[in-house]
Structures are given as structure tokens and as C-alpha cells.
Assembly symmetry: C2
Homo-oligomer: 477 residues x 2
Amino acid sequence: MKKSILLLTLLISIISCNQKNEKILDLTTLSSEEKIDSANIKTLFNSALTDGKSYEWLRDLTQNIGGRLSGSPEAAKSVLWGEKLMKEVGLDSVWLQPVMVPHWVRGEKEIATYTINGEEKNVPICALGFSVATPKTGILAEVIEVKSIEEAKALGDQMKGKIVFFNRPFDNTLINTFRAYGGCVDQRVAGAAVCGEFGAKGVIVRSMTNAVDDIPHTGTMIYGDLPKEKHIPTAAISTRAANMLSIDLKENPSLQFYFKQSCETLADVPSFNVIGEIKGTQTPENIMVVGGHLDSWDLGEGAHDDGAGIVQSLEVAYLFKKNNIKPKNTLRVVFFMNEENGTRGAKKYAELAKLNKENHIGGLESDAGGHTPRGFSIDANTVNTKLLQSWKKLLSPYGLHDLDKGGSGADISPLKGENVTLVGYRPDSQRYFDYHHTSIDTFDKVNKRELELGSASMASIIYLMDKYLYKNTPVKL
Amino acid sequence: MKKSILLLTLLISIISCNQKNEKILDLTTLSSEEKIDSANIKTLFNSALTDGKSYEWLRDLTQNIGGRLSGSPEAAKSVLWGEKLMKEVGLDSVWLQPVMVPHWVRGEKEIATYTINGEEKNVPICALGFSVATPKTGILAEVIEVKSIEEAKALGDQMKGKIVFFNRPFDNTLINTFRAYGGCVDQRVAGAAVCGEFGAKGVIVRSMTNAVDDIPHTGTMIYGDLPKEKHIPTAAISTRAANMLSIDLKENPSLQFYFKQSCETLADVPSFNVIGEIKGTQTPENIMVVGGHLDSWDLGEGAHDDGAGIVQSLEVAYLFKKNNIKPKNTLRVVFFMNEENGTRGAKKYAELAKLNKENHIGGLESDAGGHTPRGFSIDANTVNTKLLQSWKKLLSPYGLHDLDKGGSGADISPLKGENVTLVGYRPDSQRYFDYHHTSIDTFDKVNKRELELGSASMASIIYLMDKYLYKNTPVKL
């Protein structure tokens, strides 16, 4: 046995080298109320990490239904899926809220090519949402490369009959990749409208990503009030192809670019927001929303965008029920329809909330991917912003350090008001735009623990908001 | 043009919804010296994110050399690769430090099966490093499942002739997965030695991971001073197989488990630590080490463990040179050999440092994967721990919030001393044990931005340590 003892001594030294510190709250710094909160938050995390359902729900949604663009049969299936699941979780009531949604279809797989020095190059391409089709034979034209909407406008009539190529890349020095996205996406959204006005033949746009690869990224575009005859087709091309085309244009500025797409916008179709709630025990008339969007782009499985947000939102309610935490206010889970191209679900939800004089005191949206938690952004009045930031010591042991002011999300922001506390869940953003709006936004890109930590993070802040906003919310008149 | 203006107004509202706040330091809270530091740190991050080399270096190491267990031809190749690369980066001097390393080889692919209810089940398995082979025909025996070393010891002679199956899973409620690893790895390291003592025929161990999948995880084990005749073969089985076997054992406690492996430990072979340095401008006799380990397990490509740490460590020196930041102390990059099964490189490096009376003032190790940055663990005296923690405001805009006391790493910890400040780079740990010591620890699991953010994080803390430890390090006698 002596030998074993020696061995175990060796062992302990090896193991201790490998141990990294677990963050443990110094309980002596907490008030008695905070100790209760700390224990409840720990319960929510333990529960999500050992008995979480979100990952299997996401597998089902992404692999058995898949991409679910508004108006598609898959979107319709996902509504029934969501309703059934909310009932299974045992919410007090579950209903569908009708909303008319746009119905844009991609049609046949897009094609793009150009020839330089006798070599034909295939360009990975995808039509942008709401774009019109090219003529059946496609478009063939010279290309003008620009870096901004302003540069395009300055071209004026020079772009007549040409394809305008927007090629301003993400600013990789921005740590938060959503800011890089925000600094580029005007090219995708407005490029075709601006160039259609001046008689360009088509617009191609560098994909919205930090990555340099062969994957085109779709996303919505807007013609605004441009007359129909000026609507020109627009598509995204992969970043590697954009880099290559830019080089080739320097060699041969008059090279002819060809692309073909057969997308179209059909008549609006009926769809639904899926809603379920747990009635509040103290002030059931006060509502706290947690949600994400059920629709996704058509190219992938809508796993990070926003299957993750959907299953995490429902898991918040699941974790409350499982751990017998009864919300004082009504906790309402909303699977919004049509965030990607129209936010009609969000608008309908807010419109009916107003019409029905519902009293929303807070909301939490998860629509930034299913990666490892970093924190929340807060859109609230000064008092409530400070209140939420005071929870940092309770949340930071779980990697939730970011509690800055900022927007909440496209689906809940229509609920904004002086006494409404809106919060956006903010996971790590580094990988998000590798997948965003692409064929590779698939289930395998989501990590089980990261997803579950997100559910638990969301449940924790909802727990705190429910408890403390309840106290400081003005009584409804 | 009116239309365009309307459109752009629309656009701006869309984009602002998408923008998430960039963390910006409030410069008014900084001293003039801190403003300089803040600007230099920003330069290091910008440089890594726009001109980083680490990702392509890692591609080369992992895909052109691959797994590189100590003593293997691949490990020898990686030494030459490292030496060449350090010279290309233009370090002031580059040399190889000889060290004898163990040479364990896996041999043929391992096999494991058992039959229950007439169905033969194949079990994904891999031999543990330093394990002996089974007899050529393999081992067939009954299985006893245990959850701990203590439980195994309590079995005593009951395990004679049996295969002992260690099946204590990771504690998924621990947020830092390294702690879950630390709480389980004794089974892998000591299981065979303890059971060999009591005459067990073999040991199988549940793989060290949070994931439930079909991938077995190798890793080192130790027989200690157990006499050779008591050395029994030991292997890891995948977590899904472990769960399945556990269920099947309840149904049929006398089922016969079969496994076969042909690994062996050959004679030690000569190898090297690869070392390069930039001479300090003020006190070149004071040395600051930054490093990771060059060897890896044989099953995958050693991408996260520890190719990431290798390329990040060299990128620290690259970023200093590129941005003309001259270290006051000598900055030494070390690619340690043999961390995985022996840490002979680390021991040799520390031994020679002592022998040559080198004055190491600090060290930084990256051996926890290439995921998104979270912070550093600090192993230093009280004064320097506080000093490093005071840099939090400079580091937190880059997601570096964790600056807790803790171990630094297996390769630099032999340099520990009262006035030596040792730091471990701590990226996010959620995905790390999905890949650790497996066939899927491959280049594609590493994200370019996450890797580069790690290099920049490491360069930033080295920059601060170089500047401020220089001032408070006692003069060498």
C-alpha cells in the first residue's frame, strides 16, 4: 500500500497543476437577499447544465425542420413545432398570434462567373432577400467596384448598364464583430436601391463576414419607394471571390461579370407568433417577455440565427418550472415570426400589446447566436440600468461581465418605453459571422454547454428582473 | 435623390438596431502612463487582427506535420519547423536545447468489444500513454465498475483477474471545465497502478470530457514504482460507450469485455526545446519567458493542445518586432518539448536556468486551447499579484476579465520563485475538452480571430509585465 500512497502523492501534484480556479462568490460580501439570489442562480445553472433540454430541442428544430424563411412550408411547420413544445413544457397557456408575412423565394441555385486570361472562374453567390430575379438568361456586364454607398452615388450615370460591386470589408480591429457588421451592412441593404436609381444593371455585394472563405451570406435588402422598373437584381458573393474579383478588375477593368438568379416575392401569407406564458403570482397583469425569432434564412438550418435564441427562451420557462421558481409577474415566451425580412411578427406583437393595454415591464431577446456567454446589453431608464448593473457580482462568476447600455434586439425593441426594461443577451461574437445567414449555420456549429450556459444566463437575469423590477415598477393606473 | 434620402433614413435605423456596443475605455480615468499603455495594447490587438501570422503557422504545423508525440518523427520535424520559424521572425538568437524524452508508441489501432443478448458491441477505445500492451490475443475478462480510486482500493482482491472500469463522469455543474477535468483525471493517471497492485487484468477509463460522444481521449498514466510484473494495460473508452457499458453491466454483471492494444515504451530518444529571444534594452540579464508545448498526443493534429499556444507565443515576439516595441528585459520564446508525457523539456529548461544562474523575472504559458480570451491566472507574490490585477481596466475592453490567483502551467511552473511572476493564459474553456487528446483536435476546430485575440492578449500582458516588473524586480545580486 506504501506504493499507492507514493503514487497518489505524485498524482495530486499532477492534478493540482491542471486545476484552474472556479469562480466562487465571496458570500461575506452579500446581503441576505443577495445570498438567496446567488443560490437561486446557482440552481438555475446547475439545472441547465445537467438537465437542459435546449440542445435536443435545437437538434429537432434544425435537423427535422431546417431553414424556415417566412412564408415557407418549413416556417409553417416550425409554428406547430413551437406550439406543441410550449404545451409539453407545461406553460399555463399557449396560443398562436396571427400575422401576415412576406413570402420571398430563392428559386433555382444562383450562378455567377467571369472569364479572365481565358480562365472561367465560378463565383459563389446567393441572391439577397427581396431581390428581383435577373432575366432568365442572366445579366452580363462590366463591373465597377466601390467601397461605399457615397462612392456609388458619386458615380452617378457612369454606372448605367454596369454591375456595381460593393466591396468594403469588415473592420477586423473591432473586437465586437456586430460593430463590424453594423459598419458594412448598408452596402447589402441599400446598394441595389441606390444603384437602381442611376440605372445600374445589377449589384453584387461582398458577404458580411470577418472570414475569408467561399461561403456567400444572404440577408435582407430594401428597394424602399423606388419605382418597380428601377428594381435591379442583387446578390452577395463570397469574401474570397470578392478579393479575387477585385484583383482581376485591376488587371482587366473591362471584364464581363455574369450572374443569374430566379428569386421572386410572392403574395403575403398568413403566419403566427407562437406565445406561451406562466402566470405571475403577484402582479400577473405585468408582463416580462423572453424571446427570439422562429424564422430563419433558407440556406442553412438557422441554428445560431436564431434557433439558439428560440430554445434558450423556452428553456428559461422550463428552468423556472423545473426548479419551482414562480415568477411574480407573468413570464411570457414569444417565438417571433419574420425577424429576418420584415419584423412583421414584432410589429404585430407590439401593436396588439398596445391595443389590449398590456403592461410590459421588461423583455429579454436572444438573437446573437448560441456561443459562450459574455453578458447583456441594457436599454432601460437610468434607475433600472443601474439596478441591473448592480447584479454584476451575482452574474460575473458565470462569465457574465458585460452589462453595458445598448440596444436589446429587433423583436422586443418595439416595446420600448420609459418604464420598460429591455435587455439583449450577448454571447461571445467572434464566430457568429462565420455562419450568419449561410448554408453552414447548422446544428453542429452549436456547442451544448455554451447553449445551456446561455439559457441559464437568461433565466438568471429574468429571475432578477422579475424579482426587483416588480418592486420598482410603478403601479399601473 | 429624395428617395435615396428616405431610404438611407430607413437604413440607419436598421443598422443601429444591429450595432452592439464596442467597449471603449474612458480615457479620463487613466493616468498619462496608462494612456500610453492603452494605446500600445490597442496597437498590439489591431496588428494581430489585421496582420496576424499565427493562424497560417498553425495550419502549417497541424496539417503538414500533424500529431507529434515526444520521440516521434513528427516531433523531430516540429523542432526543425520551430527553429526555422523563429529565425524567419527575426529573433536575436535562436537555439535548440537538448533533452532526452520518453518514446511511447501506440502500435496498431486498439480494439474493444463485448457481447450482450447475442449482440456484439464495438467500443471506441485508445491506449493511455505509457500503458503496456495487452497480450497479442488481447484480454477477455469480467468487468467491475467503480467511480473512484478509493472504491477500487476497497475492492482489494475481488478485482483479481478482472477488468476494472473507472466511470466517474465530469461534474458538468462546474463552469470552468478544467476543474471538472481536475476532479476526474486521477482515474486515468492512477487507475492502472492501483488495480495492478491488486492483480486486476486491465483497466478501462471513461474518457475525460463533458461531451457524450464516440471519441476516446488518450492522456498520460503512471505506474509509479510498481514492479514491472504488476503493470497492467489500460485504455480510455468513449463516454457514450461508458454509459452503454454501465447499463449493460446492470443487466449482465458477468459480461465479458475484450480489448487489445499493442503499445510500448521504447528507449528514450534525444529531442529539444526550441528557444529564441529578443534581447532586452535595459536589463537583458532579466528574462521573461513566453511559451507553450511543441509535442502533442498522436491521435489528432495537436491544434488546440498545444499548437495554439506555440503559435501564439511566437506571435507575441512577432507583434513586438512588427510594432517596434522593444522589451526592457529579454523576451524569450520557448517551445517546450514533452509536456504531455513527462514534462522533461520543462524540467531541463528550469535545471539549466538554475545551473546558468539565469534570472527569470516572469513567465507566461498558453496551454489551455485557442478559444476566445477570458483572462489570465496569476501565480506571483502579493505585490505583483495586485500589480497585475490593477491592469484590469486596460485589459477588460478585450474580454479579459479574469485575473485571479491560480497555477500558470506545467511548463513554466518549475521556474516558480518568490520574485518570479508566472501567468497562465486562460481562454474560454467550454469546448476545450470536446477535443482534448483526441483524433478531432484538428486545425478546423480553431477560429482565426479567437486565436489572434489570444496572441494579442498575451502580447499585451507581456508588454505590461515587461514594463512594470522591470521597475519592481529586485536587482540581481
